[in-house]
Symmetry: C2
Subunit: 384 residues, 2 copies
């Protein structure tokens, strides 16, 4: 297989926008192309991720629309949808297009617009990513799913609501350092702990927000990447799936798809968890970050809460997690999230993250979760 | 790049079903796995196509659901959506996964369920595949788009409504020979010509139906394929895109994306149009078949209508087109169509198409169109 590098990245401001998903993607993509220093005409394929555009914008078949808006109407394009892991999945397939030799330069990313519909509609549309036969009719929305996971983790390991709150406080502290973040405001442990329950034991400040935004990456083959500045290499990228049904999962305190995706990515990269210097992972809820830091092999099962409490995952800690602010503070435009996480790791490995820079970061990891933990992607990146 | 073969194919009966899209896909996939003669556990990735599941079934993130229903809950899976070209796009990406060396066996296909919603809702949801900013608000649904194409072709070349009707009559005649087809009934030229106008000059019998159904293929690397019966080789597969906006297309009598996708596929395969023995192409409306037979290089521009009238595209003619009955008679479950077309070509190249067999077929082509002719995929297949 041919080596693949990220040579360009672009992310819109996350938050409320009056632009469509395709417009948000086109804006991020234009920035990524400029960042890569390539001619737009060098792009040979467009991989586009979006989840709820049919529901929120009456727009399917969004790939050609994004390409048209970007001024590249004849570039072959595909839309991907894997719930919240959508653009990470698109990224992995784009890597394969280059690895196979079909293309040398691929533009990949995604966008989501959801703040144009009422919150209850957004919650309902997001729930379409869970099973429609049993779980949706039972009223199981995603805060409920992650509340079940939190309760299982608390029961098994003694993880506390205060430990979960530390994740939120840390990610908000990081978000202040990211001008693209939806929330650039520190919060206190007390603010989290006193916020209203959304789905016991998860409170409002344990939950990431609804967000509009777009993110894009330019990927290139080794030959092309060597002619451009700052290639960040894809060392490994792996996908794993688990049963769609919550009632079939044997142990809700673990996300086995995270564990399998991580093992695959580490194996492909020839790396271990101790090689990783900086991480962007899927903190849709605070408990998700705790479980992910365990599943990715950074901390022993049951000690993810302690790691958050002790500050090991803060900037300046043993292993900085979500220096961008994560989904919690940076925001979570679900179709864009995977690509935005990769954009942050690329920025970190280039040493261009400014006040949120992890000093000397050489190896980074991204982790994205889709649906009821049914889809997980993990990728590893490195610099020369 | 590694060679890739289709070693298994499965298609449900097309028509009305009381099963979900994921269930329809799982049924087709189980047949494809059996047909391939592999163990289900040999499947290393699942590529799943669906278009309107969010709208018709409140179900997104359908990949893991399909995998779970199929009894393969841990197989990595991705959902693709490219309007009516969805599962042909999924197929092309699956070919790249094998070509890149990431996997040796990939299951790919798609499904759609739309007869569970009222016809006017189905028409509206399908229209989401056209632009939501200008075209949908103007009331431009797909019969309207193809009526514009028909009118342009008639004005430029003198193509007649009777020539278009010949396409419908021929595809219904072929459909009688396909036990999986939605319509297995011959129709007369008079029936087509006397049917009501849907979008002038297109009448009811110029239009394909709404359909529920699923289709699946097992793809394999050369090493694996050689150990199984009847590999049908992927000789070339190419995607092309065109502007999303109808008003930006310079000449509605042509589908330039078809022409570019065909050129790419022929080049990759080292073939020309005269090498092709059997074709499955995208006859969502009769005019679409006429324009496609020209764009694919089988007939000179402007003579596609004549070819239909003269019977050159009938079984027994110079170049049999849509022996399956095509979208017109076999039916058009949009997420399944691309894979179903490939399944037909595989069946033909194996020599197993029974009464609709094209004698001695060695090279076959599939062509699938998405949206306002904005997405086209063309693939070429051959037997040893």
């Amino acid at each position: 297989m041919r080596r693949v590098a990220v040579i360009g990245a672009g992310v819109t401001k996350f938050g409320k926008h009056d632009r469509t998903s395709a417009e948000l993607f086109a804006a991020a993509a234009a920035d990524a192309i400029t960042d890569a220093g390539i001619a737009p005409s060098a792009v040979q394929a467009l991989y586009f991720g979006n989840v709820t555009g049919g529901e929120t914008e009456r727009q399917l078949h969004m790939g050609p629309l994004a390409a048209t808006l970007l001024g590249l109407p004849t570039v072959p394009t595909t839309r991907f949808e894997n719930a919240c892991a959508t653009s990470h999945a698109a990224f992995r397939h784009a890597v394969m297009e280059i690895a196979s030799g079909v293309s040398d330069v691929v533009l990949v990313g995604g966008a989501e617009r959801v703040l144009n519909v009422p919150t209850e509609s957004a919650t309902e549309f997001f729930a379409y990513c869970s099973d429609a036969s049993i779980e949706q009719p039972a009223g199981l929305t995603f805060p409920g799913v992650f509340a079940l996971i939190a309760r299982a983790h608390m029961d098994k390991y003694g993880t506390t609501e205060e430990q979960m709150a530390h994740v939120a406080v840390k990610n908000h502290r990081h978000g202040v350092l990211n001008p693209k973040a939806q929330f650039q405001k520190e919060i206190s442990l007390e603010t989290v702990l006193k916020s209203a329950y959304v789905a016991d034991p998860l409170k409002l400040f344990d939950c990431c927000p609804f967000t509009d935004g777009g993110a894009a990456l330019v990927l290139a083959s080794e030959d092309v990447a060597r002619r451009h500045r700052r290639p960040i290499w894809v060392l490994g990228t792996h996908a794993a799936t688990d049963t769609m049904f919550v009632h079939e999962k044997r142990d809700l305190s673990r996300v086995t798809a995270t564990e399998r995706a991580a093992q695959g990515a580490y194996r492909q990269a020839g790396k271990t968890p101790t090689d990783v210097d900086v991480v962007e992972l899927h903190d849709c809820f605070t408990i998700a970050e705790i479980v992910a830091t365990e599943g990715l092999g950074f901390f022993e099962p049951g000690t993810g809460g302690l790691a958050a409490e002790k500050g090991w995952t803060s900037l300046g800690g043993k292993l900085p997690v979500n220096p961008s602010g994560g989904l919690k503070a940076k925001g979570h435009p679900i179709g864009a999230t995977g690509a935005a996480q990769i954009a942050e790791i690329v920025t970190q490995l280039r040493g261009e993250a400014g006040p949120r820079q992890v000093d000397g970061a050489r190896t980074g990891l991204t982790h994205t979760l889709g649906g009821n933990t049914a889809t997980v992607l993990v990728s590893l990146f490195g610099r020369d």
